[in-house]
């Protein structure tokens, strides 16, 4: 699974403080720890409270790039912050995110093209998140066809059917699984799918258990990537084992270790 580490996010108090105080060590440690734990990419989000989001994003990217040569996911709703970030990323970056909102696509797709970025596409439009499998799949299709029209390779796209917290919208949990399956039928080769996994467990008592259980279920439905906490060891073990059981790689007694050597 393509794993995007979620820990460098201004929603976390320690990260918000580090951004404010320009404390590089905190950010670097978090970057390295996540990469060593198996993250293929790192999500960067300056958080809602920061005064100068553009400056903060540039600082985050530069700080991380000083220690880790890894794909960066620029997590912002502000187009100017997005472009400033994409401009200084040394590797192919991820636009996190676009949606089926026309204005979003009009602004961000040209950036994806210009910087050859990967894109996370949320199944969401002006009316919000559809409450049905068909509704979400339709929006996935809207994003996919728009990219194809703009001659962007569908391989650069991760479609996110948006999982909601189990204690807010429990009925959506199975529905998102089914959506993953439906999205995979949209084209050949199938589009890739991704979830912001931790959202499913917001405000639950045992977040780790809910996260890893849903991760395993989503993988069985064909999930390709997730934004998650790679420092959650039990979650990582469950993800690796699920992929093993899906015959994604060859078993051996030390398969967990072997996976990390990949």
């Amino acid at each position: 699974m393509f794993i995007i580490g979620e820990r460098i996010n201004g929603m976390f108090k320690s990260v918000a403080e580090a951004i404010q105080k320009k404390d590089k060590k905190v950010i670097r440690d978090l970057a390295l720890k996540q990469v060593n734990a198996g993250a293929n990419a790192l999500d960067l989000n300056v958080g809602p409270a920061v005064a100068e989001p553009l400056e903060a994003m540039i600082w985050l990217i530069e700080t991380v790039q000083e220690v880790a040569k890894v794909t960066l996911s620029i997590d912002t709703t502000k187009p100017e912050v997005m472009e400033a970030g994409l401009k200084i990323c040394q590797n192919q970056a991820i636009i996190n995110s676009i949606s089926a909102v026309k204005e979003k696509m009009d602004t961000l797709i040209p950036l994806a093209k210009k910087y050859n970025s990967l894109i996370i596409g949320l199944t969401l439009d002006e009316k919000g998140i559809p409450q049905t499998v068909e509704g979400r799949t339709e929006l996935a299709c809207t994003i996919l066809t728009r990219l194809i029209d703009e001659e962007i390779s569908p391989e650069n796209l991760y479609l996110d059917p948006l999982i909601l917290p189990v204690n807010v919208a429990q009925d959506q949990c199975p529905l998102v699984l089914e959506t993953i399956k439906q999205i995979k039928l949209l084209s050949d080769p199938p589009p890739k799918t991704l979830l912001g996994l931790s959202n499913v467990s917001q405000k639950t008592l045992d977040r780790s258990l809910v996260n890893r259980t849903y991760a395993v279920m989503s993988l069985a439905y064909g999930l390709d990537g997730a934004i998650l906490d790679p420092l959650d060891e039990e979650l990582m073990k469950a993800v690796i084992t699920a992929e093993l059981l899906l015959n994604k790689f060859i078993y051996c007694d030390s398969y967990l270790e072997a996976y990390r050597k990949k």
Binding site: F249, I250, A258, K261
Partner: protein, 318 residues
């Protein structure tokens, strides 16, 4: 019409065997293997930078259990140095020297004596060497420690490193700067596990070649073939512990079987032994080429000619 091509994300490790004067050794050439970015001979899908290579066996005692070889090569089998010279003359890419006498049930030759034998071979021929013990894991560990020392700097391939002796063999190879053959029973999971254990010791995956056990033609060939194929596919898909070259000991699995022993008087329906036995070794080897063999170890010089010809034809890009 658009060509439908497989896209692989990874490549098989490259390995060099043998060190020339430039690298501090005394071999006349180096042999490169590995580096494939596609399945065997699919030149239109990826790179096959080096053709598979062929080694011929030389034993330190006559290979009595290989009656055909003992008879057909009777001029040389009693004299390992003469045998080695012939192997070089016949055009083998590598020489595979087998210290068969060291087996506790044979002469139980001491590790020191084994090392002397290797030293003489190194002085007599200039081909890169594969050095095999006697097949008894503990004894092989002891032998290889000594052998590694006399062959230091020659960048040989030492075997076998198995579940029960890999630590010693890795220590030996590390000391002398050699690569190793990791041998497992016919089981892809055990193959991967052994590679992990070996690399956990700090030994580079790039210095390992796998021997997933060679099933002889008619004696498990297809099991080995499919394990090699799965290994290669996993390696090309990015599994680092599977992205290693493969060696097949074809002679070992040919000459002990009845098809390569029984003559035409005893089994007239099988045809002339001479022709049949060589065809048996050749066919087995050529089969393994198709499942990803990087080194084939044979015994008969005519099989060498046949297999080299097959390789050169398969390496032509169409």
């Amino acid at each position: 019409m658009e060509k439908v091509l497989e896209k692989w994300t990874s490549k098989i490790n490259e390995m060099v065997i043998g060190a020339t004067k430039e690298e501090g050794g005394t071999r006349s050439k180096k042999v490169h293997i590995g580096g494939e970015t596609t399945l065997p001979f699919l030149h239109f899908e990826g790179e096959i930078p080096y053709p598979p290579v062929v080694a011929l066996e030389v034993w330190d005692i006559p290979p009595e259990e290989w009656s055909f070889i003992s008879e057909d090569l009777k001029e040389v089998v009693n004299d390992p140095l003469l045998w080695a010279k012939k192997v070089e003359e016949w055009g083998a890419d590598l020489l595979c020297f087998r210290l068969a006498s060291a087996h506790p049930e044979k002469d139980d030759t001491s590790p020191e004596k084994c090392a002397e034998k290797v030293k003489k071979i190194l002085e007599t021929v200039k081909l890169p060497l594969i050095i095999l013990g006697c097949g008894q894991p503990d004894k092989d560990g002891e032998i290889l420690l000594k052998v590694s020392e006399v062959a230091k700097g020659e960048n040989c391939l030492l075997g076998m490193a198995a579940k029960d002796n890999y630590k010693t063999v890795v220590a030996a190879a590390t000391y002398g700067g050699h690569s190793i053959i990791a041998e497992t029973p016919l089981d892809i999971n055990l193959e991967k596990q052994l590679n992990i254990l070996i690399t956990d010791l700090g030994f580079l995956a790039e210095r390992i070649i796998a021997h997933p056990t060679t099933g002889g033609l008619g004696y498990g060939f297809e099991y080995c073939y499919s394990i090699m194929e799965r290994t290669r596919i996993a390696g090309l898909q990015g599994d680092k512990m599977m992205a290693i070259p493969i060696i097949n000991l074809v002679a070992q699995e040919t000459w002990k079987h009845k098809e390569a022993k029984v003559n035409e008087n005893e089994a007239p329906q099988w045809g002339v032994l001479n022709k049949r036995a060589i065809a048996w070794e050749t066919t087995c080897a050529v089969g393994y080429l198709q499942s990803g063999a990087d080194i084939l170890v044979l015994a008969h010089p005519q099989s060498l000619i046949n297999v080299k010809k097959a390789i050169s034809e398969l390496m032509i890009k169409t």
